[in-house]
């Protein structure tokens, strides 16, 4: 794809033909139970694509796609234009209490022409709803760290690839599904500055070997979309309350990192 923004009118028919083509391939692999099912799924897909195009056109070149599906520390998933950020080697991230090797496939790295050369922002496409990401705390008590982690990964990958001065100015989730209505939730790098501490607490908690259940049963989903492990917990509310009591217990040092995330 060119580096310019998708032009709505020009690209709509092109996008339809790509969707039809790919859907036909998948139809061979996974035959639908009936024609109306296939049509309903296609309708949903096309509505998503339409929302995508409309919302993209609103950006009007202010954020121009530069690298798509940059595969950092991972093999490229599909045939497509490789990006300078691609590398089979993960990047090393320094945290407060050590370092980790991280990898990820970044949906989109956009250039921000108004911010100067080699200043970028990241976009991640989400097929579901916005609920989990809506918290006033961008990290939602340690539940969301993807934005900060991706910024750190891409900063390292840019250093490695471009050798010169570069910066990642922000990160956004884009929800083009009809249910989420094309909403975008985005943060500047400054707003995510606390990310390293959050990632550090998450990693330290894993390293400590203590895996406590969530202290909020909202994490376990509704009756309709329940976490698939809920049958193991059985009474999820009782399990969450017990976890909360453990986190409240300051003398339980094993849970210090989880406490930092959930109780600070």
């Amino acid at each position: 794809m060119a580096e310019n923004r998708l032009a709505r009118l020009e690209d709509e028919s092109l996008l339809w033909s790509i969707i039809e083509e790919r859907a036909a391939e998948y139809r061979e692999l996974f035959p639908p139970p009936s024609e109306p099912v296939y049509e309903a799924a296609m309708e949903n897909l096309k509505r998503t694509a339409k929302i995508f195009i409309i919302e993209e056109s609103k950006l009007d070149g202010a954020s121009a796609p530069r690298y798509l599906e940059a595969s950092i520390g991972l093999p490229r998933e599909r045939a497509g234009k490789a990006t300078p950020l691609d590398s089979p080697e993960p990047v090393e991230l320094r945290l407060l209490s050590g370092s980790i090797r991280a990898r990820g496939r970044i949906d989109r790295v956009d250039a921000l022409p108004a911010r100067g050369a080699n200043v970028f922002t990241l976009w991640d496409y989400k097929t579901g709803g916005t609920y989990k990401y809506r918290s006033k705390d961008p990290f939602n008590q340690g539940r969301v760290a993807q934005h900060a982690l991706y910024i750190a990964i891409v900063e390292k990958a840019l250093e490695r690839a471009l050798k010169g001065k570069s910066a990642v100015a922000g990160f956004g989730f884009f929800f083009p599904s009809p249910r989420a209505g094309g909403e975008r939730l985005s943060w500047s790098a400054e707003e995510l500055a606390d990310g390293k501490r959050v990632i550090d607490a998450i990693c330290s908690s894993v390293a400590s070997g203590s895996f406590i259940a969530t202290n909020n049963c909202d994490d376990c989903g509704s009756a309709k979309y329940q976490c698939e492990y809920a049958p193991i917990c059985r009474d999820v509310s009782a399990v969450a309350n017990a976890a909360d009591a453990k986190l409240e217990n300051q003398s339980n040092e094993t849970l210090a990192f989880q406490r930092e995330l959930r109780k600070s």
């Binding site: 109306p36 099912v37 509505r47 009809p178 909403e183």
Partner: protein
Amino acid sequence: MTDNKKGRPGDWRDRDRISGELGSTMLVEAAAGTGKTTNMMSRMANLVSSGSARVENIAAVTFTRKAAAELRDRFRVELEKRVAEASGRERELLSQALEHIERCYIGTIHSFCARLLRERPIEAGVGISFREIEDDEDNELKRKAWDEFMSTLFTSPDKLADELLARGIYPETLFDTFEIITEYPDVDAWPVGATPKPDFAPARQPIMDYWRRVDELLSLLLGTDFGRDALMPALFAVHRAITHTDFKDDIQFAALLSRFESVPTVVQKNWPRKQLALDEKQAWANISENFAAPLVTQWREYCYPPVIKAVMRAVDIYKALKEESGGLNFQDLLMKAAASGVAIVTPRTAISGPARLSTAIPRNVAARAFITGAPFLAALSSHCRPTLLDGATTHFSSISRSRHTPISSVINLFISSLLLQIDAFTLLTSYFGNYIKRV
């Protein structure tokens, strides 16, 4: 007992009637904390001490295991206390009761029904070795039934799946509706009137005009901290949604209108101008009342028949699987006991002639039946006939606290059968905790 006796709750006369009028059948409605259990226990002890009934002729029924356990403990303590204070014949009766207290049926309504059914399985039409199943197993059966339903839906000759999809309903999203309906087996019919597809044409231009209004407004709101105001983010969302909607597509247009069903909260101080907040709230309310609410309601009524048809098919599969497994869930216990006739008695015979629960069914089922914790009045006044799917949950939850109890079964069992003739209706209004503190 006199009117001017101090330290009593305002409804002390009613309380005295409950514990003292042993020849009457009473229906008592009382909220949590008003002292239902205390009064029931006192009545039970009086039945014993007066010689009106022996413990083995008393059935005390609660809705929860916890309440049953509490009642059992408190009844024992009450009898012990009275034995210590009584003398003569009364003491003898109370001592006997204490000695045989385990013969008194104090348990949940579900175990009470299970007991009836075990004694008369043939009449009740249940398997001799039926099992009472807990929620976990029941949920597993539901999930299995749903999977079976989904696996056959798309190949069924009546094209039901197509009907649903033509209304924008993905069959897999109906699982929660299916679960709701399985909770209410006593609703014997789910009437489905044929509602025509609504005509959305009159709403299209007003929605387009509204979009223009919002389009002009949004630049004023950019960068505003919404705080707790819900209207501002809703305006951004509907502005986007309108641009994404094909107005000629009824499914999409209905989804768009449903965004206007309720009026979002407005926090005036968060707006650039307070009057602007009020005006925008009113503009939204106009769309909501004049177009969204009536048209979305009609759209849902139009969608309702195939939804119910599909869900009832899954319910039938679930019932078959449950029967095959020999399991009865809580609702089944109530329904079967009520429908089987094992609980049918001639009320006056039963009430005037206490009999053993274990031997005299159905002629003399239980001399004294009490019930605590059931929202009786609400149950009596509501017979479930929801006409709208979205309204169903609210409608049901209002009449069914505690476990999801099939209310009409309870009515059948305890009012039509055991307590057919209610001599007195009593309402407890005083919070009993206050009374105890004052004393």
